[in-house]
Amino acid sequence: MIITQKKPIEELMGLIGDAKRVAIIGCGSCATACHTGGEPEIAELKSYLESKGKTVVATSVADYCCMNLGVKGKVRPLTAAQPDCIVCMSCGDGVQCVANNANVPVYPSNNTMFLGEAVRFGQWEEACHLCGNCVLGQTGGICPIAHCAKSLVNGPCGGQKNGKCEVNPENDCAWIKIYKRLEAIGQLDKLAQTRDDKGYQDVAYPRTVSLRGNK
């Protein structure tokens, strides 16, 4: 899931500026789960904007703000209501997808934080850096790229103290977690393998993936 957090409302108001007529689009997937772009958050923002003298001309929720086809149909009625701008309450991807389908400025209400998991209700943890070359098969299903503050691939640095990371003592050392997991699943031998340096040429962005063959 893409984890988002609301921007400070002052920042969003700064983006909206003098625009009088505002449309709002939320996202039915990740942002709904993060309480940053579901129905309740749209209602909350709508009433706030109205209290500040704005007119909310239309609201909508796309199933996925990141899917161009679905978004197209959801944005059309918004632009038909002739807003001065659209506020998109999704992740950064959704904002761009909406902006590609709109003829007015589209502003983000959220900051996009990371790809992670809900460890419990209302708590999310970063889990994957989308590095393009997954090492989880060698590391007991715990990602050293995302969980180690230095993204080390050959084991820990000397910076842990009592099993905690030098960068943030609230975080466990990723490599100690990996060690314990590998021990538990009987794969400690995998620790001894110096991983091939996968380099960074495969993550030169922006990347595309297509199942449709060459364009």
Partner: protein, 308 residues
């Protein structure tokens, strides 16, 4: 051939010390400290922004030392430069006759004094060693392109933290470092020789063959020891040492004499070095005086160790 390589491979007791470049561009103080070390140690490590605290570059002070006829060890971390930046520095270092290096992963910028800085870590300590070894073997740069002329050869080193739980993780990384081309290892500061011996036994049993130099940090005061125990990973100064330093401070206060704990620290470091050498525990010592490099000759003299 690297002076340190010559020393360690001929079975002599290696002695290195460590210095940091200035936070500025006046190297006078560093060069004065280096002068004190001349003839007393085999080589001088130059730190690469240790503790992620901004300093002039390791390469800069290494060049100054080399030009003054001293033997520098170029410390290289993966924190600030990608593989191209590291290789470029290594090539430049070689052109000044610098032939000994030590690879480290590097403390993260957020624990240092320029926390806004982007952490790089394109390569970790193992990756840096592998890159340089591959360069030597293939005569090619980090992209596989041929270098003009032969690749420079470095005597490559790395570090290890003997006090580590789970130790197998450290041993595993040590093996990777040695397999990747590290030919000597300097350890984190050692204060408990029994712990160090147990570590060496584990290394021995694991079949890793390398030259190990014990890290020695001369203590200056009880407060310094307590601070390191609380804040520096892999450091554990025994309470007995802290008590002795505190008692010495109390004596100093009573008599109105300053610097007694630091003197005791010199004694303790010397005692440790003498035992390491006499009991032939490992191949040498690496003294990290943390700004008090001027004390290094006294420590070595008391320990009865010379840089043969």
């Amino acid at each position: 051939m690297s002076v340190l390589q010559n020393v360690l491979e001929s079975g002599k007791f290696g002695v290195t010390a460590e210095m940091a470049p200035p936070k500025g561009f006046d190297f006078t103080e560093q060069m004065a400290s280096a002068e004190v070390l001349r003839g007393k140690v085999h080589s001088v490590n130059v730190t690469d922004m240790q503790s992620a605290s901004l300093k002039a570059s390791s390469l800069g002070l290494c060049i100054h030392l080399k030009q003054a006829g001293l033997e520098p060890i170029l410390q290289i971390t993966g924190r600030d430069r990608n593989r191209m930046g590291i290789m470029a520095d290594v090539l430049s270092a070689a052109s000044f006759g610098i032939d000994t290096m030590l690879a480290l992963t590097g403390d993260h910028p957020v624990v240092g004094d320029c926390p806004q800085s982007k952490p790089v870590y394109d390569l970790d300590s193992v990756g840096i060693l592998r890159m340089l070894t591959k360069m030597e073997q293939t005569n090619c740069d980090c992209g596989g392109n041929e270098l003009t002329g032969p690749a420079p050869k470095f005597y490559k080193g790395a570090s290890v933290t003997p006090l580590y739980e789970p130790l197998l993780l450290q041993i595993n990384k040590l093996r990777q470092k040695v397999d990747s081309g590290a030919m000597y290892i300097q350890t984190q500061g050692i204060f408990d020789l029994d712990m160090f011996k147990r570590f060496l036994e584990v290394v021995e049993k694991s079949g890793i063959k390398t030259h190990i130099m014990a890290g020695i940090i001369p203590l200056k005061a009880a407060g310094m020891a307590k601070y390191m125990n609380e804040n520096v990973p892999g450091i554990a100064v025994p309470q007995e040492m802290i008590d002795r330093l505190a008692a010495e401070a109390a004596v100093g206060k009573e008599k109105g004499v300053k610097g007694l704990p630091a003197k005791l620290g010199i004694e303790m470091a010397a005692e440790m070095i003498a035992r390491i050498k006499d009991e032939k525990l490992c191949d040498g010592v690496h003294i990290m005086a943390i700004g008090a490099e001027r004390n290094v000759p006294a420590i070595l003299e008391k320990a009865g160790v010379t840089a043969e």
